[in-house]
Subunit: 367 residues, 2 copies
Amino acid sequence: MISNRRQMIISITGANAYIARQGMDINASMSKKTITIKDIARALNVSVATVSRALRNSEEIKKETKLAVLQMAKEMDYHPNLLASSLSSKKSKILGVVVPTINRQFWSNAISGIENIAYHEGYKVMIFQSAESYKKEVEIVEILANSRVDGILMAYSQETVDFCHIQHVMDRGIPVHLFERVCEELQTSKVVTDNFGGAKQIVQHLVDRGYKNIAYLAGPLSLNVCKERYQGYQSALAENGLIASEDLLVEIPEFSYENAAQALMGLWKKETPPDALFCFADILAIGVLHAAREGGIKVPARLAIAGFGNDDIGKFVTPSITTMAQPSFEMGQTAARMLLEEINSEEETFVYQTETILPQLVVRESS
Amino acid sequence: MISNRRQMIISITGANAYIARQGMDINASMSKKTITIKDIARALNVSVATVSRALRNSEEIKKETKLAVLQMAKEMDYHPNLLASSLSSKKSKILGVVVPTINRQFWSNAISGIENIAYHEGYKVMIFQSAESYKKEVEIVEILANSRVDGILMAYSQETVDFCHIQHVMDRGIPVHLFERVCEELQTSKVVTDNFGGAKQIVQHLVDRGYKNIAYLAGPLSLNVCKERYQGYQSALAENGLIASEDLLVEIPEFSYENAAQALMGLWKKETPPDALFCFADILAIGVLHAAREGGIKVPARLAIAGFGNDDIGKFVTPSITTMAQPSFEMGQTAARMLLEEINSEEETFVYQTETILPQLVVRESS
DNA sequence: TTGTAGGCGTTATCAT
DNA sequence: ATGATAACGCCTACAA
């Protein structure tokens, strides 16, 4: 445990240097008066308007004055106050992001993609996690709107069935784009995975491999993602003359290794346990795989496992997990790009689009 | 590809309802005049000060007026403008976060912990990734300072050897707390892992298991974390009469599975390849494990592997990875708590502390 | 307990 | 090309 007392660092540079030259008492000014465009204007004997224009590199300003302002700004160690700028210009250059959680790979990757694009376009990113709570989500959306973010990217919580809070901020004039978890009720741009097609494809793959009694381990079917993959699963089975019995559907309330493990145990106790298991997400597939090994169930001999998402982890476990690759980073980028496009669009009638990302089948050892 | 035209949703509720009742023309007010405390004041025939106080639940206000204001605010669909509030109060209630990347588990967990605490304390979080670039980091720090964040949490980039940019924002009066990646030069609070002790412990474990030729796969030794774990490694070897030969140190420029795999290949070509490999982070351990399997190297029979961090992945691979558990989520929480403590501290002389988190040895199959 | 009025630091609209 | 000046929406002494 090392601890230091805060130290007053006295340096005759930057702002203080300027003040010193003006003949002011340094000690009296230790409250560190922050330099504003007003100070620059006074020092240069021009108006604040001129300074403001010069700093924002406006065309309608003489080159020399612009240079003079820039130089004086540096000399006085001036730093713009973005709060004031935002208040005045009505543009905060902030994007709001709402995700269920930050610490699952899909979401952190998506956030990374969002930040990546935002940064390059000069936008900051404000991030919140709803923790799958509707109540929290409502609060968050309100906070973001009140913070005057220029737009919101969100994947709503699994509790969310009412979308008034989202509609409400849209009515306030704030563009909202949905990604991954979307709904029909809202007129927004959306970035989604082809869940139906993806699920169908991977289940077809299982069928092709000879598996006949394929179970689906789902998250809450109230979420479009979960339901769509379920429908893809059903469709694939139907096309192959197989039935998706109720018995083979397990819906878990929360995504975790443990819940997946439990689900497997439950399935295994049935009269006719499945010979393959399609999991809504890789995290579940991993949990199942782990439980299978502990239970002495050979994978893929007695049980094939397939996931969805292509988290890093699936590649390195033994046996490695067959999955549908979802480019989460790129999804974040796409969502951010589309949102910025709407923000920067002049027209009143922005055309909302739904961008569908096609996942890729990655066949590995688990099937 | 579904696409919809933006729709004007006309509803006689909220703000418009109020305006309608006032006899104003709805169509003329479609520009959605945002309601301010001024409007509430006018409607209630009180001053803006009263409204402001009532909304902030000030003590010095009569209960009835407070209620009246609150009710009218709701009726008029009032939403506070946090930008204006921040500008005026000089508190933005925003925390800035700078990390190398969001999409590695350690960092996303830490961010999650930070957001978690921040949210509960009424703070928003603005997140940036430096991508290990010094130049970008300098820009980011400037942006955060200009955004008037109330404090900054950061883990600097691996390129960063000069800390003036950080000192500069501190001089501007913005508290900065360092976590995980810290340096001696800066007088700030810090949250660190006991890297020396942790590395020593896990290497001692390897020695105890009978391994004698233990290599260290490091990240850039310019980072304190990498160096400290190196020193712990050296110390453990020394105490056991073993030598940490230069030959057994591999420094990779960037954290990736691939680089780790390459490093193993390099080591394996040596006259006397190592019999154990301590990796700076789990991600490297996984890369090495994967390469070992492909190269037919039995783990742990011919090569023991140990990591650091306890990412989820290490638990599920075969053989599972021995590692030092680093509670990243809690580190984020701790860092956030300490920063908020400084922000909320009245005193001029805040006592900077260094919080050291002890990692836990997790022995698994790879050793 | 409530009101008045002057900021907070920029931007934007008119003039000149 | 530059200047005055009024917003932007809220907070906070200081008065009353």
